[in-house]
C-alpha cells in the first residue's frame, strides 16, 4: 500500500508561513493533483513528501510508515522536476540506467529494465542518442523513464509540462494521463495550470496561501466549488461574479440588483429564508450564459456589448450588465458590435452563490 498521509503539516521560511497546518490523504494508486497559483504551497508539499524539505511540525506517512526521519533515498519515491534534470553528456539509455547503476543492479537486469521502460514510453528507438537531440515530448518521457525504472511506490511530478511548448503540451496532457494510468502507482502532480489539473487529476487539492481550499474530484470542484477562490481558479474563461441582494417575498426568492432581477424560486440556489445572508455574490460560468438579440423572455437581461473576441469555433463576448462586465462563451457573435444591445440569459441550474463577507459558497439544493 502506498497511500500518503500528511497530518497537520506546517512549514515556515523565516517569518513566512508557506504551509499552514494542512492535512491531506492521497489514496493508494491515485493520480492526485496539487493545484494553485504560484506560491500557494504545492511544490513545498511535494518536496516534503520527497524528503527534500523538513516540515516545522506535522507528520508524513507513506503507507503505514512515518517517514519524517527517513532520508529521501530511503522513502522509495521518485521525483520528476520541472526542469527535468537530465544528464546532457549521457545517452538516453545511460540516463535511464543511472539510478539502477547507483543501486548496483546487475548489468543484464539493467539492460532488460531500461528497454522495457523505454518501450512503454516509446523512446526505445532513440536510446543511443543524447538528450539534446530529443524533442520536448521525448525529453519529458526520458525523465519519466528514469523515474519509472526504479519502480518506486510513489511518483512525485513537479509541473512536468510547465516548460513545454503550448502546441505539444496539449498532446502531452492526454499521453501523460494515459501513461500514468498504465503505471498504476500513487502519483502526486503539481501544477499552476487549472486546465492541467482539471483534465488530468482523479482528485485535486486546490491550494491558496498555504492552505487547502477544497479536495475533490475535478467535476465536483467545477460544479460545486466551496468558496469564491476555488470558483475563480477553476475554469477558463473564469466564472463571472456579480454582487446582488437576495429577497424573499410572497414565497418567491429573487436575486436582484440595479440592472436585473432574477427569480430563482424553482432553481438550484437555496432560499435564504433560513436566515442566510442577504448580500450575496452570484457566480455564473461563461458557458452557462446564452445570448439573444431581442428581449424574448422575462429571464433575459439587457446588456451592452463591450468586446467580442473570436476564438475559432467559439467567441468570447464581454458585455456590461449594469456596472458588471460579464463574459459569455458563445457560438457566432460576428453580428455583435461594441455598444450594441444584447440580452443575456443565465442557466438558472448553474448558478453559484457566495456569501459576500466570508466568500464561502452557500448550500445549494440538488437539481
Amino acid at each position: 500500500m502506498a497511500n500518503i498521509r500528511l497530518v497537520n503539516i506546517t512549514k515556515r521560511y523565516g517569518s513566512k508561513t508557506v504551509l499552514d497546518n494542512i492535512s491531506l490523504e492521497v489514496r493508494d494508486k491515485e493520480f492526485f493533483v496539487l493545484a494553485g497559483p504560484p506560491g500557494a504551497g504545492a511544490t513545498t508539499i511535494l518536496r516534503i513528501v520527497a524528503g527534500l524539505e523538513v516540515p516545522d511540525s506535522g507528520e508524513v506517512y507513506i503507507g503505514e510508515q512515518l517517514v519524517n526521519d527517513l532520508e529521501p533515498k530511503d522513502r522509495d519515491v521518485a521525483m520528476v522536476f520541472e526542469n527535468l534534470a537530465l544528464y546532457p553528456n549521457k545517452t538516453g539509455f545511460k540516463n535511464i540506467a543511472f539510478p539502477l547503476r547507483q543501486k548496483k543492479v546487475p548489468e543484464n537486469e539493467i539492460t532488460e529494465r531500461v528497454n522495457e521502460v523505454a518501450r512503454l514510453l516509446k523512446i526505445d528507438h532513440i536510446l543511443d542518442r543524447y538528450p539534446r537531440t530529443y524533442s520536448g515530448g521525448e525529453l519529458q518521457r526520458l525523465a519519466l523513464a528514469r523515474a519509472i525504472v526504479r519502480r518506486p511506490k510513489v511518483y512525485l511530478l513537479d509541473q512536468p509540462l510547465a516548460n513545454i511548448d503550448a502546441l505539444i503540451r496539449a498532446n502531452m496532457r492526454s499521453e501523460l494521463k494515459r501513461l500514468v494510468r498504465e503505471i498504476g502507482q500513487t502519483i502526486i502532480y503539481t501544477t499552476h495550470d487549472q486546465l492541467e489539473a482539471f483534465s488530468m487529476g482523479e482528485r485535486i487539492a486546490i491550494l491558496n496561501g498555504g492552505m487547502i481550499r477544497q479536495v475533490d474530484a475535478p467535476s465536483a470542484i467545477y460544479e460545486r466549488p466551496k468558496d469564491k477562490f476555488v470558483a475563480s481558479f477553476m475554469g477558463s474563461p473564469r466564472m463571472n461574479f456579480i454582487e446582488c441582494r437576495c429577497e424573499v417575498k410572497n414565497g418567491r426568492t429573487i436575486l436582484a440588483q440595479e440592472s436585473f432581477s432574477l427569480d430563482v424560486t424553482n432553481s438550484r440556489p437555496l432560499s435564504t429564508s433560513d436566515g442566510g445572508p442577504s448580500d450575496l455574490t452570484l457566480g455564473i460560468r461563461p458557458e452557462n450564459i446564452s445570448i439573444h438579440l431581442d428581449n424574448r423572455s422575462d429571464e433575459s437581461m439587457e446588456a451592452t456589448v463591450y468586446v467580442v473576441e473570436p476564438m475559432g469555433s467559439r467567441a468570447l463576448l464581454s458585455a456590461h450588465l449594469g456596472k458588471n462586465l460579464v463574459k459569455a462563451l458563445i457560438h457566432g457573435g460576428s453580428d455583435l458590435k461594441p455598444g450594441g444591445k444584447v440580452w443575456l440569459e443565465f442557466d438558472k441550474n448553474k448558478l453559484h452563490l457566495f456569501d459576500k463577507e466570508t466568500l464561502q459558497a452557500l448550500a445549494t439544493r440538488p437539481v
Binding site: P38, R173, E309, P338
Partner: protein, 369 residues
Amino acid sequence: MTKVIIKGLTKQFGKLTAVQNLDLDVKDKEFVSLLGPSGCGKTTTLNCLSGLETPTTGDIFFDDQRINDIPSKDRGIGLVFQSYAIFTHMTTFDNLAFGLKIRGTPQLEIKREVERMAEFLDIKEVLHEKAGKLSLTNMQKTAIGRTLIIRPKVLLLDEPLSNLDAESRNVMRTELKRLQKEVEQTTIFVTHDQLEALTLSDRIAVMSAGRLQQYDTPETVYNHPENKFVANFIGSPSMNFIDCSLKLSDERAYLVNERFTLDLTSGRDRLTEFANSPELVLGIRPEHLNVTSLSDLPTQPRGSHLSGSVFMTEPLGYENIVSVQVDGLMLKATVPATSSFEVNEKVSVTFDEDHAHVFSKNGEEPAII
C-alpha cells in the same frame, strides 16, 4: 493616417535567412498580428519596422515614405515589449507624461492628456502610485499608455501579454481588443499565441521559417487555412490529419484509406490536378468530429466513419476532449461536457465532408480543398 507597406523584405544573419522575401501591407488603422512559432521571423520583421535591424534587401514604407534609412527615433513608432518598459520609481502619472515632457509639451496640456489617457485605460485610481507597485495588468496598461500618448504613426507590440499570468492575460486581451476598437491606431502585434491573434486581429500574417504562409482575417485563417502548417498552428486542440489517397473515376472523386471512403465529388475539379500525386492529407477540426459509442449504435453506421477505441478523455469544463485511437492514428474530438466515455470504449467517429480540408503532405504547399 498611416499605412505600412513591406516589399520584398529579406533579412539574413550570416547564413541564416530569418525573413525571406516578405510582402505585407497594413492598412491605416488596421490591427495586424504577426503569428508563428519561435524562429519564424516575426520578431525580426518587427525589428526591421522599428529600426532595430536593417533589412538585407527590400523596402519598408510608412504611407509614401521609404523609412529604411530613417533613424529609429524619427520613424514615429511606438514600441511596447513583453517586459514593461516603465520607470518603476516614478508614478503612473509621470510615466504617462514622460514622452510629452521630453517633447516640451506645456504643463497644462500634459495634465489634460495624461488624465484622458488614464481614463481611457481605466487606471485613474492608480495615477499617483509608484508604477513599481502596480498590478501586472496596470503596469502593462501604463506601458501601452505612455506609448500611445505620443500618438505614434505605427504602434508595434512585441508579445505584450506573454509575461502575464493566465487570468491577467485574459483580462488584458479583452482590454487590448477594446483599445484597438476605440483608438483606431495602426498596430502591428507580434505573438506566438494563436488565440491572441484570433481574438485581437483585423488580419493575421501567419509565418513559418521566415516565409509568409497566409495573410487574412481570423475567420478565413481558421475556416480556410491555406496549407497544412496554418491548419495545424491555428486552433486548439489542433486539427486532426489523416493520410489518404485520391481515387478518381470519370464522374466522381474519393479520398480513401483502409478505413473509409470519403466522397469529395463536389471538389472533383480541383482534385483532378492531383491525379498524379495521389498521396494527400485529410484535415478535420476536433469540433467537426462526432464520437458515438458503438454500443449506442443499432447497426454499423453508413458513410464516412472510423472505428476506434477511446484513448483518454480530458474534461475542460465547458467541453471535453476525447482522444480516439484508430489503428496507429490519434484523433481528437471535442464533445459536450455532459458526455462521458470510458477509456478503451469502442467508438465510431464520423464527420461531415463539408468540413473536410485536403492538403498536400508537404506542410507549406497550398491547400487543395
